[in-house]
């Protein structure tokens, strides 16, 4: 963790912070990361996040997106199609979030714009949100503490496809997606990241909890 590193992801200041019973959060550097935590929160590195809008009923639009991204556009609610680097999350009937892990948003936007025409919208929101993964045996309980949605009812995660939903997260909101390994991905907004980090450290304290990058 370095304050003068060029890029600061939203949880920058929380990397290495942990929570444990009796302590809401502790930024002590002495924490031994080998200690088993029932909740591990891992923030993805800076990635390309694009908000994409368009007509799901337009086959040309869907195909163009798929061609550029190499991942089919999910047109049914609650689905996230993905490969190793790119995930497309269904957000609404005409709205998706594309995350390219470690990707360059400007390049991706340009590539999409080159193929897309008509009434579409592509917006770089890479700075405005972050992707975090929650794993460990405490994850279901912590999610139940945090969101009103029935995340257990998400479409089952399988290779290439996950379930996704948007809902409340504490008093903020989050995109919530399940993974095959039983962990969950969350997309949260930057300005709420400190609040959500504090919330998660508190909610996960009973299991032992740490945030890492």
């Amino acid at each position: 963790m370095s304050v003068d590193s060029k890029v600061q992801t939203p949880l920058h200041y929380f990397h290495g912070v942990f929570g444990r019973p009796g302590i809401e959060s502790d930024s002590s550097k002495l924490f031994n990361t080998d200690v088993e935590c029932g909740l591990v929160i891992k923030e993805a590195p800076l990635s390309a996040h694009l908000n994409v809008r368009g007509d799901a009923g337009d086959a040309g639009f869907c195909k163009a997106v798929a061609d550029v991204l190499g991942v089919a556009l999910p047109t049914d609610p609650g689905l996230c199609n993905h490969n190793d680097s790119i995930s497309i999350y269904w957000l609404g009937p005409s709205e998706w979030c594309v995350i390219a892990l470690g990707g360059d948003a400007a390049e991706l936007e340009a590539a999409l714009r080159a193929k897309l025409s008509g009434h579409v919208s592509i917006v770089d929101i890479s700075g405005g949100q972050t992707l975090i993964n929650l794993r460990g045996h405490g994850v279901e309980t912590v999610l139940k503490k945090s969101t009103v949605c029935d995340f257990e009812a998400l479409p089952m995660a399988k290779p290439g496809q996950r379930g996704v939903t948007q809902s409340t997260f504490a008093k903020a909101s989050a995109v919530i997606s399940n993974r095959c390994d039983g962990s969950y991905d969350l997309i949260i907004r930057r300005s709420f990241a400190d609040y959500i980090a504090q919330w998660l450290l508190d909610a996960g304290a009973e299991f032992g909890c740490r945030i890492e990058r």
């Binding site: 957000l91 949605c149 948007q166 909101s173």
Partner: protein, 96 residues
């Protein structure tokens, strides 16, 4: 504590994800300038406020960010249907 079917997400979702947006099917007058103050005031403020069958708009604020319509009984709070903006309810006060 309502459980609301979002026709876009095609799921029952918790009330806390939504915000209420008032009576549905109130169309903005095409030429407001031609209206009297009374007619304009009626559009702005006066509502059916029905007790029983009520058509209303909800916004899936922390979900898909779409507006949609709901037919709800304002006495029992039972939600009878949800339907897309621009479409008409199948259940109305007259038929209930």
């Amino acid at each position: 504590m309502l459980l609301i079917h979002c026709p876009h997400c095609r799921e029952m979702r918790e009330e806390e994800e939504f915000s209420y947006s008032g009576e549905a099917h109130i169309t903005r007058p095409l030429q407001p300038e031609l209206l009297t103050d009374e007619e304009w005031g009626d559009y702005l403020f006066f509502r059916t406020n029905s007790k029983g069958i009520h058509h209303e708009m909800w916004f899936h604020a922390v979900g898909c960010r779409r507006y949609f319509n709901v037919t709800r009984d304002t006495l029992s709070y039972e939600i009878l249907e949800s339907y897309l903006i621009g479409t008409q309810p199948t259940i109305t006060g007259a038929t209930s």
